[in-house]
Symmetry: C2
Subunit: 332 residues, 2 copies
Amino acid sequence: MKKETKRTTIYDLATRLGASPSSVSAVLNGTWKKRRISAKLAERVMKLANEEGYAMNTQASLLRREKSNIVAMIVPKYDNRYFGDIAEKFEHRARELGLIPIVTCTQRDPELEFNAARELVSYQAECLIATGATDPDRITDFCHAAGVQAINMDLPGEKAPSVISDNFEGALNLTRLILDRCQQELGWEGALRFVGGRLSDHNTVARLEGFKAAHQERGIDVPESNILIQGYSAQTAQRLLADFQPTAPTGLFVNSTIALEGVVAWQSRLPNGAELIRYGCFDWDPFGSFLPGNVGMMEQNVDIMLDHVFELIGKKETPAEVIKIPCELRVY
Amino acid sequence: MKKETKRTTIYDLATRLGASPSSVSAVLNGTWKKRRISAKLAERVMKLANEEGYAMNTQASLLRREKSNIVAMIVPKYDNRYFGDIAEKFEHRARELGLIPIVTCTQRDPELEFNAARELVSYQAECLIATGATDPDRITDFCHAAGVQAINMDLPGEKAPSVISDNFEGALNLTRLILDRCQQELGWEGALRFVGGRLSDHNTVARLEGFKAAHQERGIDVPESNILIQGYSAQTAQRLLADFQPTAPTGLFVNSTIALEGVVAWQSRLPNGAELIRYGCFDWDPFGSFLPGNVGMMEQNVDIMLDHVFELIGKKETPAEVIKIPCELRVY
DNA sequence: CTGAAAGCGCTTACAG
DNA sequence: CTGAAAGCGCTTACAG
């Protein structure tokens, strides 16, 4: 029922209890047994703190402390299962370890990413995990200058350890599956189209290599016009496909579930899209198996990736090596 | 190339420049024109700050400042489009307004929610938006005791303004659609099953009322055994349906896309699930239109909900009223 | 145009 | 068992 605009501090509590701020502080942060505060005082402090709705000022506490225990993550988007899982599981595991997670999403925008990184370092984060960052090395440089550990996830960098999926291998196997199915189900063999992603991004490049390798081993030539890579959004994928109206069997390699939304929208506007088209998608979605023409999805292994990330957190002198995690092919 | 473990402070910069900490501070936080610092010094400060990779200590700054500009949000999960959109758009809009968003996900766990709220208040958040919170009033009480504004989103509370979907109306319309389609496509009329959610949660209750009202207006009796409400997880939905193996036409009202994952898994194990079953889902998913038997989804209007939330942020003395936002029915 | 000084709310040796 | 005091890195009147 208090009406002050100021928040309660340890001084307020101390005054009300006739004790010193030091003692109140010790009780509140759990160091009171080693300071041999009486259980009686401890109890009175706790009681009053609860009554007053006391909430410690983290800013003041962190300013004085040596460690912040904050681990920060930037992530491009929350609009698909892959990044959603990463963010959610990262927070959960960090809390289990007694760390304080802060996650923020940066829209695949290099400036937003860098500003977010700066902001997180300002919050005294001890480690920054850059997930799917467009310019991870710039972030790493900044972190290292500030004495903050940097780790890359999903997209690799040159200057910090990177935990990523094995994109080449995954794309190779996914492409093989799509080619097989085109042959089996449509009686057609030919060059697939590759839809979605960015050529400035390592994953897209590695997947494109896997895609090409799978064609090459079957002696299929891939014309440049089949490579439709101009960004991750669903609208982009749909626009790139807009004037492709197949009248004969064809197949696609879809790079991410976001591009898949565009592919599916495009396909549903075709007169007999479902019968003529087969595709597979790099990234998993729970409803993917019901999409007409979808022959399989490549699920990235978030749990194992996070195992490696948490293995690295707090380590000194981690080499800037790339750790590749196999994906799992879901066949429909 | 610095090797110190300590981060650079304004004192370090001041010493190196032969200037005072006050001046460096003024340059760094943009108040230097009004303090009439020379452009020359300002430039030297900025240059050195960049070279040194200086990152302000937010803790120290916030401790001294009057306002934090932090707006915090808790959200249950990131694993579906609805909450993913909320989190992403909230962050984006807050940044556009010059506010600092902090979002954390709390797994629909009351204790986690409360601890997260306490933590966010400790961070000096000026406003806390509790999205889908299981016990919003407890959080509101805590916030108010600490002088922090509280707003509820998605799930309403009694003690703070709440911006929620019109769940009754939405469920009424969705149920009507499912009943219509069962009749048209299966030639069947009867009580649907309601799958997913929690009876302790206002939305589930309101939706169940809409569900029942739609049955009532057609004179259809809903047996209690048709109400399958034991939580939000996909596994729960699947388990609850496990020994329901329809041999005649039937229909379901699916409460959330997460429950939908379970429904779809159950259905796909049935010999002729697709032909006998029609359902609709409260919540939207981009791939929902392809699920066999799915007649429609109720899309909640995140943008308009956030309009109202941001309208409330910063306002003094906001009444604890409930603002209901209509949903949009997607018919497949 | 610039600096010295006080103070934000904590924590932590140190002294008793 | 408990308190006085210094100091974390900033910001901001105030004085010049």
